[in-house]
């Protein structure tokens, strides 16, 4: 490109800047274009003939330092990858585990719990309905508190309702929660005080209708990120969350409701608990390399603990037809299993963002599948 064109470009885009960038300082002052500037060719001392016998670059860039120490057997053949001093490519989520993993659990409990409360009311189980409504209102309140607490600017929490954006699951969820929280509060207040029953009934069914959305949208929330261990599970995550939420809500019912009314949540809890464990397994199997994060480190320990707790809870619920004590214990195990599942998934995501391997290797494989074209 000629310097005229360049100057013309500058004049168009930067009217206050008359001078070119490329200049040398001489005794006479700045002497424009004395150096090659942007046309400089790196290593151009002998250009053409040396290039023909130049060896191909070898692949000894900076390999990961982090990966070196504890590299384990990979689920994909290509273990070698390059990175910039082992630094992560992604920025780590700024979310606090207690707030956001806690919210994933509480929101699920509230959502599935509201649906179970509505079903309990409709099927004439007022004791179960009352316990569920109280639990749902409590979890919804704690959910809100956790979400506001996690904001960098908590005073601006109402900005969440500035717009409705379907491309942002957090926006969608804010609106769901904005509808759900008052309904669940009203349902619980009417159930506890015994006043305004028609309003309480309407609120119960309203919250029950919104509940499944509240329990599952959080799967889209965390999957809709660049975090490998979350995004790569986006096909199964909604089912993991739906079953985990249902198991937790059934757990609450088994733990706290009058034993005479817990038969449906006993059956449902057994099904949901088994579904939670099997959907989690399925998700890990289909995830590819990032599944490592569900098996290693703190996240791996949590996932294993969750599997034990949830399996125990589900089996316990299945066989506790005649034992109140076993029902209570199974309920507690299902609740705990669901909570630990969410913390495990959260931590796995953070671990996958920290290591560039999980970003680079799958993307390299994706590129290798594409027919060679642009060397991008």
């Amino acid at each position: 490109m000629s310097s005229k064109t360049k100057k013309a470009r500058r004049a168009a885009t930067a009217p206050h800047d008359g001078n070119g960038h490329t200049h040398a300082v001489t005794r006479e002052g700045l002497s424009p274009m004395a150096q090659p500037g942007r046309e400089a060719v790196p290593g151009s001392a002998v250009v053409a003939e040396a290039a023909s016998k130049r060896p191909e670059p070898d692949a000894n860039g900076h390999a990961s330092r982090r990966g070196g120490g504890k590299r384990e057997e990979l689920m994909v053949p290509r273990a070698e990858f390059q990175s910039y001093y082992g630094k992560p490519i992604l920025n780590e989520p700024t979310w606090q585990a207690a707030d956001i993993a806690g919210y994933l659990f509480l929101g699920g409990l509230a959502g599935a719990g509201a649906t179970i409360a509505a079903a309990s009311q409709a099927s004439g189980r007022p004791g179960l309905a009352r316990v569920m409504k109280a639990g749902v209102a409590g979890s919804a309140g704690l959910s809100l508190a956790a979400l506001v607490h996690d904001l960098g600017r908590p005073a601006r929490f109402l900005n969440m309702l500035r717009m409705f954006k379907p491309t942002s699951p957090m926006s969608v969820g804010s609106w769901i929660l904005a509808g759900f929280a008052p309904l669940s509060g009203a349902a619980a207040a009417c159930a506890v005080t015994g006043k305004l029953r028609p309003i309480g009934t309407a609120a119960t069914y309203g919250a029950g209708a919104l509940g499944p959305a509240l329990a599952t949208y959080t799967a889209a929330l965390i999957s809709n990120t660049a975090v490998p261990a979350w995004h790569e599970g986006h096909r199964e995550m909604p089912f993991v969350f739906a079953s985990s939420a249902t198991a937790a809500a059934c757990g609450l019912g088994l733990l706290a409701a009058p034993a005479a009314e817990t038969e449906p949540v006993r059956r449902l809890g057994a099904i949901a608990g088994m579904a939670e464990v099997s959907m989690s397994k399925l998700m890990e199997e289909r995830m590819g390399l990032a599944a490592e994060c569900y098996h290693e480190g703190a996240a791996g320990q949590l996932i294993r603990a969750a599997e034990v707790l949830t399996t125990a809870g589900a089996v316990g619920a299945a066989v506790s037809r005649r034992s109140v004590l076993l029902r209570r214990a199974s309920g507690a195990a299902l609740l705990a299993g669901s909570a630990v599942t969410r913390f495990g998934i959260f931590k796995a995501g953070v671990a996958s963002a920290r290591d560039p391997k999980y970003t680079v290797v799958p993307q390299r494989e994706r590129l290798a599948e594409i027919p060679p074209g642009e060397p991008s």
């Binding site: 490329t22 060719v41 151009s44 992604l90 059956r267 005649r322 029902r327 060397p375």
Partner: protein, 326 residues
């Protein structure tokens, strides 16, 4: 020129993001072409950016990563110069005395200048090259940060760039894990999210961004994106013709996973060597499928609850526990 608060079009930002966002008579899309082959690692861009944008200090540390103590983009680093030391030769660079002799003998005109550039090594036949590259927010055509921002704090400007409105951001942090490049981040003492604005204030008065203005070698070039892409292709051809086959463009292709970057690069090695993802993809492309799956899961939840309650005999009937007083 007021910042217009517009909702983005769902799932499809289109090829001309400003127009797709709703700007009438938008100016040409502006961007950066960062040609790392002429970067000298002076960090003038980092300094100019901090100065102009009042970006606070974020740690004065020694990392041992070549000359890079800045480490990466974040809330308080909007330009980051990477330094990579490699045992490879740079283009047709001559690094050993023996090679110098050969080439001088083979001799076209340029060969006469060799000793001046061959002083590096002296220690046998170990080639070495030092790559430097100034990284920045990519101002994606399909920007994940913008898509996921629940408050509308992140906006598309009339120049097609992506900017955080700091008076709206409530620090929810969703944009941070959404960004496939690891650009935007939270300023800890402030709680809000920050990143390169492509000097929106300067663009509005016709000035070029501070980093491009400060760059002494024109490694950072600012201008209309169409023009930059054309110029980058010319530069790539020039380098390929000059014996630098490893030169490649990054982020220039509107067909890539983010619809092309508003700030793209010429690199001399694989992107991941510079800390860039080799094939980034905006997460929201998969969001329609996620919403469908969420809908299926929600229906399964509701259906499962209804089915089990319907199949379970009424209160107190049929179970031993039902007869036990609590």
């Amino acid at each position: 020129m007021a910042i217009v608060d517009v909702e983005i079009s769902a799932f499809d930002n289109g090829r001309d993001p400003a127009r797709a966002t709703g700007y009438q008579d938008a100016p040409p899309r502006m961007g950066f072409f960062t040609d790392t082959s002429v970067c000298i690692g002076c960090k003038a861009c980092e300094v100019a950016c901090k100065e102009w944008n009042h970006v606070p200090e974020d740690g004065l540390v020694f990392t041992g990563m070549s000359y890079d103590n800045t480490q990466g983009l974040g809330a308080d680093t909007w330009r980051h110069v990477a330094f990579i030391e490699q045992t490879k030769s740079m283009g047709a660079q001559i690094t050993t005395p023996a090679q110098v002799g050969d080439s001088a003998g083979a001799g076209a005109g340029a060969g006469a200048q060799l000793p001046a550039t061959a002083g590096d090594g002296g220690d046998g036949d170990n080639p070495v090259r030092w790559l430097m590259a100034s990284d920045v927010c990519k101002h994606c055509t399909e920007a994940a940060c913008l898509d996921v921002c629940p408050t509308g704090a992140l906006i598309r400007t009339e120049f097609g760039t992506v900017v955080v409105q700091e008076d709206v951001c409530n620090g929810c942090g969703y944009c941070v894990p959404a960004c496939p490049y690891g650009v935007i981040d939270q300023r800890p003492d402030d709680g809000r999210m920050w990143k390169c604005t492509l000097c929106y204030d300067r663009l509005q008065v016709g000035a070029e961004p501070a980093c491009a203005k400060a760059c002494p070698t024109d490694s950072i070039q600012f201008g209309p994106l169409d023009e930059l892409r054309a110029r980058a292709n010319e530069r790539l051809a020039q380098l390929h013709g000059s014996g630098v086959p490893e030169a490649r463009l990054y982020g220039h292709d509107p067909g890539d996973g983010v619809g092309g970057d508003g700030a793209f690069f010429l690199l001399l090695d694989e992107p991941e060597v510079y800390g860039l993802p080799p094939d980034p993809k905006v997460t929201t492309r998969d969001l329609p499928q996620m919403w469908r799956r969420v809908g299926m899961a929600a229906l399964a939840l509701a259906g499962g609850v209804a089915a089990v309650f319907a199949a379970t005999p009424g209160r107190g009937a049929g179970t031993a526990v039902g007869r036990v007083r609590r």
